[in-house]
């Protein structure tokens, strides 16, 4: 186990280096010069060239990467080409918004998904099972940008109950976090259902039942405890797709998180910001995966990693 943790800890920086090289190459392969976009269509070629030189984009790729990597190790991702603010500051301003939104969404997803999955397992292959699961999957079957726009139109424009945009009050969390939670809710519900079904079929649960233990206590203490592992796994492993969902959700709701920053930066070819955001997102994903694995190992020492 220790060896495993050690290997993972070594892999983390390697993954970050790999990702940074990948992003770096991908960005330079991306057609569209930042200088041309900044200078606008009316600019002369000379003007575009001068902007390119100012941005340091005329240097060789290797030179650019080494400068970037050297600075990045010291926590300096350079300055945004667009706002001229340090990338680290831009990201630091945005990360809390994405994190709070993601956390709210996860809490929602767990508090709805786990009970829904339990209902599905308890009434396995009976109508409550079908109803709950179909509703859960149906919600996740709609493109979330569309759900978001419909919800905005209904709750904000038609009814006037909730704020439309931005992140100014606790009410403004409601629509974005629900939108973001739809997909993980379905995933968690299904995971809970299938692992509970498995646990409920196991000998010791049958024994407990035979001993006359209260059915409810069986569900909650025995079955759920064992179902926690797959749930944690799925939550940890799906952090990446949650970030992906945040890109769309934040764009629609004008949420000032890193997802929207990413989309804007790609549009303006703001290389330093794209690099910084990707690295931070990847770091978050790897960290979440790692924590999930550690938690699983802690909950169930029998699991072997190799």
């Amino acid at each position: 186990m220790k060896a495993y943790i050690f290997r993972k800890l070594i892999a983390l920086p390697l993954i970050l280096v790999g990702v940074s090289i990948l992003v770096f190459i991908a960005l330079r392969a991306l057609p569209g010069e930042p200088a041309r976009i900044m200078a606008g269509p009316e600019a002369t070629q000379e003007a575009v060239d001068l902007v390119t030189i100012r941005l340091g984009l005329d240097r060789s790729l290797l030179e650019q990467y080494l400068t970037f990597a050297g600075n990045a190790i010291r926590g300096d991702f350079g300055d945004s080409l667009r706002s001229r603010l340090p990338v680290i500051q831009e990201i630091a301003e945005r990360v809390p918004y994405t994190l709070t939104l993601a956390l709210t969404a996860y809490l929602l997803a767990i508090s709805i998904g786990v009970p829904a999955g339990m209902i599905g397992a308890i009434y396995h292959n009976r109508w409550p099972d079908y109803v709950v699961m179909i509703i859960a999957i149906m919600g996740a079957s709609f493109a979330n940008f569309w759900l978001a726009l419909m919800a905005m139109n209904f709750f904000s424009v038609q009814l006037g109950w909730l704020p439309l945009l931005g992140a100014n009050s606790w009410q403004s969390y409601i629509l974005p976090s629900i939108t973001l939670a739809v997909l993980p809710t379905a995933v968690i519900a299904r995971m809970t259902r299938s692992s509970m079904i498995e646990v409920l079929g196991q000998d010791y649960v049958r024994t407990a039942r035979a001993k006359g233990l209260q059915v409810r206590s069986i569900y909650w203490s025995h079955a759920l405890r064992n179902a926690v592992i797959p749930i944690v796994t799925i939550v940890g492993l799906n952090f990446g797709s949650l970030i992906g969902g945040a890109v769309v959700t934040e764009t629609v709701f004008n949420w000032p998180g890193i997802g929207r920053l990413m989309v804007d930066s790609v549009r303006f070819r703001d290389y330093p910001v794209i690099q910084g955001v990707t690295l931070v997102a990847v770091f978050g994903v790897v960290l979440m995966n790692f924590l999930a694995e550690m938690l699983i190992a802690f909950l169930n020492p029998r699991i072997r990693f190799d």
Binding site: A11, L14, I15, G18, V19, L22, V23, A26, L27, A29, L30, P31, G32, N125, Y130, M133, I134, I137, M138, A140, S141, F142, A143, N144, F145, W146, L149, M150, N153, R190, S194, E198, G240, S241, I243, G244, G245, V247, V248, T251, M262, V263, V266, T278, A281, V282, V285, V286, N289, D306
Partner: protein, 289 residues
């Protein structure tokens, strides 16, 4: 002669009853398979289902609500949305087959090789997979599609690439699990060659879980395509791709809901179908049962 009906009928009835009872205990497969069957049917018989041309524009009849003539209304260029949704089934199925197929073809061998070889090979392959997996899928897709240019094929490549690690991990874990099984150890002891073990034992025993995973990925393919269309990286016009249609339609929300609703519902049917089918198949193919 007179006996014939009485001898045939019960057999027929019992076969039917057996089929019905199989369906009764595999509701998931029936519902999921039915929904997907519906889409496949629409894709194959599109010209028979609707006589309208999914590409024919009529700028005098744009954004119409549903009517007898246009069951789903018309879009911003006056095209029949019903025809576009029906013909779009072809595109969507193609998307699913190609991108899931690509992910399977690339991911599975990598996973099996990693699992069989172990050591450095395993570490390197899984390290690359970790890098890919750690990339938030949509970010990776944005980069890939932007570099390669937005069209259907590049979109599928992007979606497939971020599904590759899923299959690699899955097949590696299956391989590792199987490697420890007695029959593989026995085969090893008997001196059966490695490639033969691979194809005869490991691949064959991995098929079930891989099929289940494929149906589950299939649903996300269509949704990812829609998200990428939303970010301006989807299929090229005028292809009736559901995600792209929905994405264009969103710009009219507030004056016309039909343009995005119907492709959205089609996507929903497909995602629902694949997911329910996948759940059913998992129950069916679960070796522990």
């Amino acid at each position: 002669m007179t006996l014939a009906p009485s001898t045939v009928a019960p057999r027929k009835r019992s076969a039917m009853r057996a089929a019905l009872s199989w369906c009764g205990s595999h509701v998931n497969i029936v519902i999921g398979g039915g929904l997907i069957g519906l889409i496949v049917f629409a894709a194959i018989f599109a010209p028979l289902i609707t006589s309208a041309d999914p590409y024919a524009q009529n700028l005098m009849a744009t954004l119409l609500p549903p009517s007898w003539e246009h069951p789903f209304g018309t879009d911003d260029n006056g095209r029949d949305i019903f025809a576009r949704v029906i013909y779009g089934a072809r595109i969507s199925l193609l998307e699913v087959v190609l991108s899931v197929g690509l992910a399977l073809i690339v991911g599975t061998p990598l996973g099996i090789i990693a699992g069989m070889a172990g050591g450095v090979v395993d570490t390197v392959i899984m390290w690359v997979m970790d890098v890919l997996f750690a990339f938030p899928g949509i970010v990776l897709a944005i980069l890939i599609v932007s570099v390669l240019g937005p069209n259907l094929i590049n979109l599928l490549i992007a979606i497939a690439i971020f599904a590759v690690p899923v299959y690699a991990r899955l097949s590696r874990n299956l391989t590792l699990g199987l490697k420890r099984m007695e029959f593989i150890e026995a085969a090893n002891a008997l001196g059966i060659s490695r490639p033969r073990i691979l194809t005869h034992y490991i691949l064959r025993n991995s098929v079930g879980p891989l099929i289940v995973q494929s149906t589950l990925t299939a649903g996300t393919v269509i949704l990812s395509a829609a998200s990428l269309s939303f970010l301006g990286l989807g299929a090229q016009p005028p292809i009736p791709e559901w995600g792209a249609m929905m994405s264009v339609g969103r710009n009219y929300l507030g004056v016309n809901i039909w343009m995005s609703l119907f492709p959205g519902l089609a996507i929903m049917v497909m995602v629902l179908g694949f997911n329910v089918l996948g759940d059913g198949l998992r129950d069916l193919l679960d070796p522990r049962k």
